[in-house]
């Protein structure tokens, strides 16, 4: 059982530079995608809520970028970037928000509730914390089948740490010594609720010892720090050291959803380190390390925006599901469908 708490520092050379660039371009793509979602929302073109991860792209990208084919990723609300890094596409993002029948959820579920579970990309339900034991269960089954070296990553917010599901899930993963990495994005608020009304521990990482698992913390506004930390955590899990908890500090730079102006966020936090935009931090890091020029970054941004436009163009032309074609059944075993559909004959 590993219980050491490692505070990582920026050791830029540990990461290969191609990875840094790749991560940064995922962040850019996520930001461009979400900017577009925000304007679609404002234009009334998306039904239901839009929940963005602006400011959390670095951490989210880091969460999944070290995963390999066969690994499991269970993203949450603010993980547009991590989703893309794991193989989700901008097209499927728009398809899901717009309810395209061609999207992975076929109009049945929307927005952030998407995934392709068969590809290790789990689809969250809304209930916070509920995904933790599910990812643990995926890992459990893999191990039972004799697969080794598999890792599962899931993320959660400061608010989500207060759920019973989070507690039970991590504890179970610890007992089973599963290769699960839980990334806690401490963005200071759960909807409008500040950390002071959410937990009383000095540091969320203090929870790791209570589960007997390893803990890491990092500055979630810093792409390099986030990448380095997650690299260590994923590696530790892959090497058989059991669950790993990563606590990252940052701020969500948008509302809880696009309907929310986040007026409750303390202005001092916005000004503080925690309120930095990870995209700006990342740009400085890339330029400072001679991995990119400002012009290159501007070009990448344009490329990302173009990719987003192209995907949106496709998604917008796709049809939603046709209710008349739906078979309206919630189970797969056709002979066991309860034959009592009151709306059937209308």
């Amino acid at each position: 059982m590993v219980t050491a708490v490692k505070e990582t520092t920026v050791v830029r050379n540990d990461l290969d530079s191609a990875l840094l660039v790749r991560a940064y371009r995922v962040m850019l793509l996520a930001r461009a995608t979400e900017d577009k979602l925000a304007s679609l929302y404002r234009a009334g073109m998306i039904k239901g809520g839009v929940f963005l991860g602006k400011g959390q792209e670095a951490l989210s990208t880091a969460s999944s970028i070290f995963l390999q084919k066969g690994d499991i990723f269970g993203p949450l609300i603010r993980d547009q970037a991590g989703r893309l890094a794991f193989g989700d596409t901008v097209l499927d993002t728009f398809r899901t928000y717009l309810g395209s029948a061609k999207g992975p959820m076929r109009g049945r579920d929307g927005n952030i509730h998407r995934g392709r579970p068969r590809e290790g990309y789990y689809a969250m339900i809304s209930h916070l914390g509920a995904l933790v034991p599910v990812v643990a269960g995926g890992l459990y089954a893999r191990r039972l089948r004799g697969e080794t070296g598999v890792v599962g990553v899931t993320s959660i917010g400061d608010g989500g740490t207060s759920t019973g599901a989070f507690h039970e899930g991590i504890n179970l993963a610890a007992v089973e010594h599963l290769p699960l990495v839980v990334v806690i994005a401490n963005n200071q608020y759960a909807y409008s609720t500040p950390n002071s009304r959410q937990f009383a521990c000095a540091d969320l990482l203090d929870k790791a010892a209570g589960y007997g698992i390893a803990g890491f913390k990092c500055d979630g506004t810093d792409p390099v720090a986030s990448l380095e930390t997650l690299q260590l955590a994923v590696q530790a899990a892959r090497e058989g050291n059991g669950p790993q908890m990563v606590v990252a500090t940052l701020l969500r730079l948008v509302g809880h959803g696009e309907h929310d102006d986040a007026g409750y966020v303390d202005a001092a936090l916005r000004q503080a380190n925690v309120g930095r935009d990870c995209l700006e931090v990342g740009a400085t890091q890339l330029i400072g390390s001679d991995l990119a020029t400002a012009e290159e970054i501007a070009a990448w941004t344009k490329e990302a925006q173009a990719e987003v436009e192209a995907a949106l163009n496709i998604a917008q032309r796709e049809k939603g599901p046709d209710p008349a074609d739906e078979d309206w059944r919630a189970i797969s075993t056709e002979r066991l469908v309860d034959g009592h559909h009151d709306l059937e004959d209308e």
Binding site: K47, D109, H113, S162, T163, G320, P321
Partner: protein
Amino acid sequence: MSVTYLEAIRAAQEKALTDDPRVFIYGQDVGAFGGAFKATKNLAAEFPGRVMDAPLSEDAIVGLAVGAAIEGARPIVEMQFADFSTVGFNQIVNQAATLYYRTEIPCPIVVRLPSGGTLGAGPFHSQSMEAVYAHYPGLVVMTPATVEDAYSMMLEAVAIDDPVIFCEHKLLYYHLKADKLPDTAQPVGKARIARAGRDATVVTYSAMLHESLQAAEDLVEDGWQIEVIDLRTVKPLDTDTILASVARTGRLLVVGEAWPWGGVNAEVISRVATEGFGLLDAAPMRLNARDTPVPYHPDLWAAHRPTASVIAARLRQLLTQ
């Protein structure tokens, strides 16, 4: 001046806080933020220390309410969406609902459930859980369909000594309006004849009342007079009012937004069939949502739940049977 369904709920909570020092409100984001739907707007400022943001812990929120009720307080807890009450489920059905029977100590808590489907809300922000709670002994389940009832039933929910599951329909929050808040109210536990009729009885509740009233209106041109009953509370269920209506009309359609298996509709039909069999001139009918999770896409959603036109069509069937 007019007041919305949501404002009525807010006003009733304000009045309860004003009139009774034992009342407090506890729930996620209900404090300074005023709640996800603003049902507690400004209340934290008006009543310092009595309208508090809770951690993201539905089980503990309800548990806290039960403990406070034991000590004589009258907590109102807000679930951010009805759907999330599943993680506070045990405290509701096993702790709150059994307290009085086991210990003779009443449990005056109100659990507010923003319920029902809205556009694009999807499987986990649309559920109607009234039938699940009504199945359990020990709970009163209110399902107000009007601004007046939202107000007066919330006051009553706080006033009575038993745990109340207060199912407010999100679709009514902003659009449903009344001229003013009511001064008097029908007693809780009694259904209301929302529209008098002669030819058939529609029993319904919550948002489906409005679809049903529309359907009844649509049938006027064909000369049909449809009686529409608003249940108001689904537990207790006012069987007498239903039976009296069916005695007049001889025909019954029950309309609800929840899933079909074993919900309010099954209970209503079962009561009429067992207690008022002879009153029926034709087979009773029911309309529910379909037996799948509530879909996200607006077109699927529209086909998933009953609407006025579906109700009207079903009524025509019923009337010509």
